[in-house]
Amino acid sequence: MNDTPKPQPEKPDAPVTDDEATRGATTTETTTEAPEPDPHDARAERSRSVLREIASGDVLAGVLAVFLAVFVGSVMIAATDDAVRETAGYITARPSDFFTAVWEAISGAYSAMFRGAVYNYNLTEPAQQWRPLTETFKFAGPLILGGLGVGLAFRAGLFNIGGRGQMLIAGGAAGWVGFNFDLPLVIHLPLAILVGMVAGALWGGIAGVLKARTGAHEVIVTIMLNYVAYYLLFWSLTKDWLLKTPGSVNPKSPPMKDSATLPKVLGDQFNLHLGFVIALVAVAVAWWLLNRSTLGYRIRAVGENPHAARASGIDVGRIYVVVMMIAGSLLGLAGINQVLGTVSSGVSLDLDAAIGFDAITVALLGRSRPLGILAAGLLFGAFKAGGFTMQTSENISVDLVLVVQSLIVLFLAAPPLVRAIFRLPAQEAK
């Protein structure tokens, strides 16, 4: 935790006790505890700490974690490839055949992924060549938003597994506004987004209130609320007066009105819509909130040590409620991004597209920091975009991405394991 320099007295009017609380709680953060921070010093300190992090081998462990996960993914590709299995039958006779087949299976998969996620060198028109990158951004948008929602809760010491429920409720509410009214775009779209965010905030807030009032563990409550939300949305999709398309038997709502659809930002030939821009704004807001605002300071204090925070006068319960509401609205934005942007053909039960759980891996990979989450969201967005291309062109299931993604997080969570595998020296005590 010593690599985020905490700019000291963030608010001149912040109670001194807040300061005492974190100082007592986080003995490691002594590097920047200067009473009068000089902005230049702070910047220099930050770049120095980045260098230190790279040098200390943490980044190395991260890179190795990704490498290991990709390696396991490669083994899975090779092991399930027909040509590889065929050549393995006569591996002793002609080993070169086997290794060629392995190489072709793996390189084929990863080059398809690259073509689907970054740059398609098989095409000639420049705009189409870069189209995959816009797809990556499109997939990254909700992942970043969701990752922020989970990450922000992490910083307050809360584990928000309720992403799915928060997305479903917010998506349902935004969708209801999206197809029910005829309004000009400048009113309709913001209104739909706002209603969705409020719905997500309220749904997330339930877990916060229960934790604050009764101590009920948020992990349990949010898991259970996922299912409650799912059945609630299911029920709404069977009622004409709520979300169901009248006259249809499918649990699906009518399509969104054009005035409530997130506009395409790069013209109609690209699918990239305003949701990605919203995600970037959300990153900036979350960064400011966590690192520059009093609320963010309190959130971090509660996350570091709730007892110390309470002793110093922070209303821990209120912070839990507020954080869960913000987290719910961010995950809500991810759901809104789906309903009003990516799949604007109507609210359905699978609108969350498993992003609620992907968001957890994004937040973990991004180490709960807004900029880290931005990077992690882009990476996993690229995996997703590339994974679909891999599935269509190489016939390798996109679910491989899920495996690689979760392995990255697992390896990353246990640096000692990665060190042991690569026989790196144990990390020195800091």
Binding site: M1, D3, E53, M76, T80, F154, R155, G157, L158, F159, I161, L210, A212, R213, T214, G215, A216, H217, V219, I220, V221, I223, M224, L225, N226, Y227, V228, Y231, L232, W235, T238, V302, P306, H307, A309, R310, V316, G317, F357, I360, T361, L364, R367, S368, I396, S397, D399, L400, L402, V403, Q405, S406, L407, V409, L410, L412, A413, A414, P415, L417
Partner: protein, 434 residues
Amino acid sequence: MSIATDLPTPESGGLAPDGAVTHGRGSGARKLPIVLGVLTLLLAGILLRSEPSGDTTFQLSTVTDFVTLPDIVVPSGPTAWLMVVICLGLTAEAVRRMLTRAGQPIWIPISFAIVWMIGFLSWAAAGDRIRVVSLLGGAVALAIPLVFGALGGVLGERAGVVNIAIEGQLLLGAFAAAVTASTTGSPWAGVAAAAVAGALVALILGLFAITYFVDQVIVGVVLNVLVVGLTNFLFRQVLTPNAESLNSPERLRAVPIPVLGDIPLIGPIFFRQTPLVYLLYVVVAVVAFALYRTRWGLRVRAVGEHPKAADTVGIKVNRTRYRTILLAGAIAGLGGAYFSLVSVAGFNREMTGGAGYIALAAVIFGKWDPIRATLAALLFGFATNLQGVLSAIGSPVPSQFMLMLPYLVTIFAVAGLVGRSRPPAADGVPYRQQ
């Protein structure tokens, strides 16, 4: 910097109520009358809104029964109202006991539940028949994976390891069962493979949670994602192209037990099931006995409650935890066999559909006790089956609300509205030997 420092610290880990916000709470004696009162009013409200007409038939036996019990036909409206009155009486008794500060015996909520359910059914199935045997027998069958999963959860958590990965254990168990049963041709080999698969997931959980001190909830959640990805990948790449040889297991058939199966009402419900159910009875009994009556159980509970004290008297904390979660994983994995060998023959994408999370709910609702967790799992299985039965006869209750019930009940339980759920003291806290 390790990732754990950003996350809930291990000391605050686990699923215990947060000490920073929880204060002393009153006993559960006051809550029972309130809950019963609300439920009674709810039933009366339902009846007032749509008064049932006609008769409700409760069919107690199937045609193949050795002793055939007669059908019970009751007028729907009056019966339902009678049940409301009895419910009121039970609530009054609970209030009286609260006022005189007598304890609330267990028979009050149990008989209340039965009476309430009879009243509810006479309303919901007015003019139709309820096949009691298939309602309850189906509930037992549906509860199989929940009970196995919940037992695995209870064991792990009593040893101090939070297991969110029950879902993953069930899913990998289902996958392994389908593949092994198809290749060997023996469903029993499939059941064994399911146990091994569950233990494998537990081993990974242990590696990260016990050896590397990673937050156990995080490992569990990520493991679930990993298993979903892995099984989906293998299903699409390997099972689907070779469905004949790899994904067409023989189904486990129901095997009636000779004498017990002929007992009226009870026999068809409990003793004309698949062998997996009989295995379940054995496992429940063994786990419940072993956890409370053997030296092994005492040690497991000791490392879950106070690992340091256990270590001081010479119990190997982490070794005990590893062994316990491996066993727990194997038990949870057995539940997975239900999906691909009993419910349907063959594996399918994400076929567990969140049963692992219901099992987790049963662990908590059952207060980390094997018998109570089993009962909770049976209750949740009953809710699921009741939903199916009611929607089949076209009852006015929206099925989604019935399906929501287990989750809502669990939220109420952890929020302390229905009893108080308190986990083992060291649940979720990794043990670092000094």
